[in-house]
Amino acid sequence: MAFDVIGLLISVATVYGIFTLLSLSLNLEYGYGGQPNFGQVLFYGIGAFSAGLVSATLLPLFAGRAVGDVCSIGALVTREAISASNPLLSVSTWLIALVVAALVASIFGFLASYPALRVKEEWYLSMILLVGAEMFRVIVRNTPQFGCGYNGLPGISNPFGWISSNSNSPLLIDLSTGLYAMAILGFATLSYIGAQRFANSPYGRLLKSVRDDRILSEALGKDVKRVREQIMVIGSAMAGLAGALYVFYIGVAIAEDYIASVTFSIWVMIVLGGIANNRGALVGTIALIGLQKGTQILGVLLQQASIAVDSNLLVYLDYMVEAAILLLLILYRPKGLIPEQAVKTVAYRSFDSGGKDQHA
């Protein structure tokens, strides 16, 4: 083959895992909780930057070196040397960074839910979160003290990078990136199982009732504001985790990666798959990632066949196709590929199977 198939599969798996986390989190917030989060990229970005900063600070600290200025070339070289030579340190720092990223993002989710849940009209919430995400980007890009400003915070290595550090063998490089992709898919699977259990629990039904009729839920004695706060916190933590996983994959935390188009893609994924449906989120995510990667492969193939096509043009067409998919879905198939299904309570399962697996 003309290009690296294994490398391609690994990168598809990595990006798929990260976006599965994002689409599951938005699906929990919007599909189940009814919160139209148009600023999901804010929590993704917060997760990425906090993970980057934690890893850049802790690696030299644990190795007994001076931390100094994390943006400097010297610090970058030190970090990379430590993570290439010390497996234990690099994996443990990575895990700490993931936890911190999820925590920081969930704190911001709580803070964002405060104004967002108190606004008068429904779409104000979307506006506030959208503006919040843009503010974050402007602040991070122009504040060198936080995340190194415009150039971003570089040198956040793959936690399994030590496998291939002493050789140039492509097999070992694939092994280290493949291992990382497996780890990401592991997180995605865990969060899918979690989301599935969550959605089919009494709490999931409470969320749906809050989404469908707030006044009714309140009349039944449910604390609607509290529930909406909780779902924002959980969703943001998942998005923050996705951001942290992404930053260790791409190696640099840079503000321009966290633009509104990312949020838009996540929305297309969940609408395509079917809102309030975790399986739908998985399907929608793979469809969109397939589209995006497909355009990239098409670009490479066209280049190899020496057909001169501007590679940017393919990216533009990709965005146009995404937007067209979304519009057509809203018009002709608003429930998505897999429509929302009834919550699987014990009673429902028993009814569904004709009373056969009551003890299941």
Partner: protein, 320 residues
């Protein structure tokens, strides 16, 4: 000395005028069809490119550029209405989904312009018009563009205001805005009023885009980079007030330029933080005063009027 102040005030009035042109249409959209149209800023891009293309055949012809941009942006707005928004409104789709759909329209139009511009090699272009300095205030030069835009924005907002209060079509537009169902049962032809509203909304934004393109440069992100600023204007105006939008445009213009220049001068805040000012305005207004500042402006005007007329309307005292 105070050159920065004069400079920034002159610039504020210019940018404010462009914001007024860009936002009037969004206010109209929000009032008549209740749609927060996130694709509105793309009309500026379309207008700017139309102006640039026209100017390559007819250089220096501001009238033709303006009219062409108005017509093309207006028509595209109507096409979007018929293809996307009208079918969705007929299906009574929820407001969140409409917002999402307007995002999709914006993305589609923006990358459509991107594709066309990259094929035609126009990713960043300048309309062929010459910017001439025609006068100055202190040391601050005043250009011919400035002399066109500022009066144009004021005159057009007055024209739109007159149109809404005097003509039959304008009155029916206001009727639709205040009560959709009632307007329909009264026999107002929605099939005429709503598309006409889109022509005005898209056209005014396109016109603003022409002058913005002359002032900066025509790129496919010309409009979308100002989306949230335009929303800030409309939100400050309380979403549906036309006179509020005119004032709101200048408020945002002054905040971004004069206030920013002052912050830079006195506190050393770098100019790169400029977008944070309108963003912060959106957050503060939505959270604490979702009706916008128009009621305050109106009560301020009423108060001033009372104060001016205080001698005439004096209440007679007891026993007089």
């Amino acid at each position: 000395m105070l050159e920065w102040l004069v400079d920034s005030i002159v610039l504020s009035i210019f940018i404010g005028s462009i914001y007024v042109l860009a936002s009037l249409g969004l206010t109209l959209t929000l009032a008549v069809v209740k749609l927060p149209n996130f694709a509105h800023a793309e009309f500026l891009t379309i207008g700017a490119y139309t102006g640039a293309v026209i100017s390559s055949s007819f250089p220096e012809n501001f009238l033709l550029m303006g009219v062409g941009a108005f017509v093309v942006s207006g028509l595209i707005a109507v096409v979007i209405h018929f293809l996307v928004y009208k079918p969705m409104m007929d299906r009574k789709i929820s407001i969140y989904t409409m917002v999402l759909a307007s995002f999709a329209v914006a993305t589609f139009v923006r990358y459509g312009v991107f594709s066309w511009a990259s094929i035609s090699n126009l990713l960043s272009t300048h309309p062929s018009v010459s910017i001439v300095v025609v006068g100055s205030i202190g040391t601050t030069p005043i250009t011919n563009i400035y002399e066109i835009v500022v009066p144009l924005a004021l005159v057009l907002s007055a024209v739109v205001g007159l149109f809404l209060t005097v003509t039959r079509l304008g009155k029916s537009m206001r009727a639709v805005a205040s009560n959709f169902e009632l307007a329909r049962v009264t026999g107002i032809r929605l099939s005429i009023v709503v598309p006409f509203m889109w022509v005005i909304a898209g056209g005014l934004a396109g016109l603003g885009g022409v002058f913005l393109g002359i002032y900066t440069a025509v790129t496919p992100v010309l409009g979308s980079s100002l989306l949230l600023q335009i929303f800030a204007v409309v939100i400050i105006a309380g979403l549906t007030s036309m006179s509020g939008t005119v004032i709101g445009g200048y408020i945002v213009g002054f905040a971004e330029n004069t206030l920013m220049a002052a912050l830079n001068n006195f506190f050393g805040v770098p100019f790169t933080f400029e977008p944070l000012l309108p963003f912060a305005m959106i957050l503060v207004v939505l959270m604490f005063r979702p009706t916008g500042l128009t009621p305050n402006m109106m009560s301020g005007i009423a108060y001033a009027r009372r104060w001016l007329n205080r001698s005439k309307t004096k209440v007679p005292k007891e026993g007089e």
